[in-house]
């Protein structure tokens, strides 16, 4: 997707995201809009950094690093950023993202219908396995470290 198109997509979906925040989580519309704008600027800067950096690392790495830094105690704008970004609820973003995920599912349904029940069971177990095993190990490690 081209750079300009990415920006337009973020702006269009931003309207939907802000609507979700106002309806579902009762955040003031202006605060949610400013919060969304901040997230958007950080994300775009992160994408830019990924393209500039000679070291090839996934986009999520640079975006995370930038977002963590901007909101960390080291950042001069941290309090401003966190104050507004709080008005963009995590769950509202999830609704937005999964709505698009749902709307794209149709293209995979033909192939999905052809699958045997066996592979579907295996897939369910694969997803359960990764979540459950990591949780069990995390639980014991957090205990060992005395954090919980």
């Amino acid at each position: 997707m081209r750079w300009t198109e990415q920006v337009v997509v973020f702006l269009v979906t931003g309207i939907i995201g802000i609507a979700a925040n106002v309806i579902g989580y009762h955040h003031p519309i202006m605060d949610a809009a400013i919060g969304y704008a901040i997230l958007l600027v950080i994300t775009l800067l992160g994408i830019l950094v990924t393209h500039i950096m000679p070291l090839k690392l996934p986009m999520v790495f640079w975006i995370s690093l930038l977002a963590i830094f901007v909101a960390s105690p080291l950042s001069p704008v941290a309090s401003f950023v966190t104050k507004y970004v709080e008005n963009v609820d995590f769950l509202a973003l999830c609704t937005l993202i999964l709505a698009y995920a749902g709307l794209s599912v149709g293209k995979d349904l033909e192939m999905f219908k052809k699958m045997s029940w066996k592979i579907i069971v295996v897939a369910l177990v694969v997803y359960t396995g990764t979540f459950v095993f990591a949780t069990i190990i995390a639980q014991s490690m957090l205990h060992v470290e005395g954090i919980i």
Partner: protein, 269 residues
């Protein structure tokens, strides 16, 4: 520009999101657990129905655009999680050991239960592709490069990928909600578990956990975000150098023991 050409899709998304948020979160108690129904799950399921090819409401072109939009929107989620981690990055580092070690669960959890089951159900080399990882895009690339996508391994990875696209988020969200409601595990541990390395699955799991433990919301987002970041970044290398060889080795060891093909192998029909 594709966005403008696909304006109908975005209008549909807006209507969908507004309706789902108006319905809101609902809990259904079943035995010791709770089934959580979050707006994002309705959005995924209703969206899936709307895109059903027979209804002809959403064109293939729209669906491809939706999936492109989806992949850049997950970046926004990454940013949001980063801003939650930022203020308490010190606290996160203090649990760095737990965070690193639990990644083993993410990488090997798919193989430990998935592989024996797949072999038991009679799968051949498909089992390796299907269970060596959670089979998202980076993992497909690994299999494509090693075996090609026309191979049995390639079919395995693609099948689980499609299952993941169709119901992965809904399933992981329900599992996470049930596990959280059991009150056996600490919300931090569940949060780390939620970082499975796929944006939409992580979102669904994290959402369900925060709904059960609203008081720990920020910590849950922080640990889930950090764990998901680790899984995504280390994942490519771990799957290539450790998960895949381990899965191949276990496949060789387990197939003669529990594989059905092997039983039939001796007796020619």
């Amino acid at each position: 520009m594709n966005v403008l050409k696909n304006w109908k899709l975005h209008v549909l998304a807006l209507i969908l999101v507004v309706i789902c948020e108006m319905i809101g979160t609902h809990k259904v108690t079943i035995g010791p657990g709770v089934l959580l129904f979050l707006p994002m799950l309705y959005a995924m399921i209703i969206g899936g129905f709307i895109s059903w090819p027979k209804l002809k409401l959403v064109k293939l072109e729209h669906m491809n655009h939706a999936s492109a939009v989806l992949s850049i929107l997950t970046l926004l989620l990454v940013t949001k999680l980063g801003t939650v981690i930022g203020p308490s990055v010190g606290k996160l580092l203090s649990s760095g050991l737990a965070l690193s070690v639990q990644e083993l669960g993410h990488f090997l959890g798919t193989v430990i239960v998935g592989l024996p089951l797949a072999i038991f159900l009679g799968m051949g080399r498909e089992a390796v592709g299907a269970t060596f990882s959670i089979d998202r895009e980076p993992n497909i690339a690994i299999i494509a490069e090693k075996y090609g996508l026309d191979s049995p391994e390639g079919r395995g990875v693609m099948s689980v990928y499609i299952c993941g696209t169709v119901f992965g988020a809904v399933w992981v969200g329900l599992i996470a909600g049930c596990m959280a409601a059991l009150q056996i595990f600490h919300p931090y541990a569940l949060a780390m578990g939620a970082g499975v390395g796929s944006g939409s699955m992580m979102a669904a799991a994290t959402g369900a956990i925060t709904a059960v433990f609203p008081d720990h919301k920020n910590e849950i987002l922080m640990y889930a975000g950090a764990s998901n970041l680790l899984t995504t970044i280390i994942g490519i290398y771990f799957c290539l150098f450790i998960s895949l060889p381990v899965t191949n080795y276990l496949y060789k060891v387990l197939t003669p023991i529990i594989g059905r093909r092997q039983e039939k192998g001796g007796a020619t029909k």
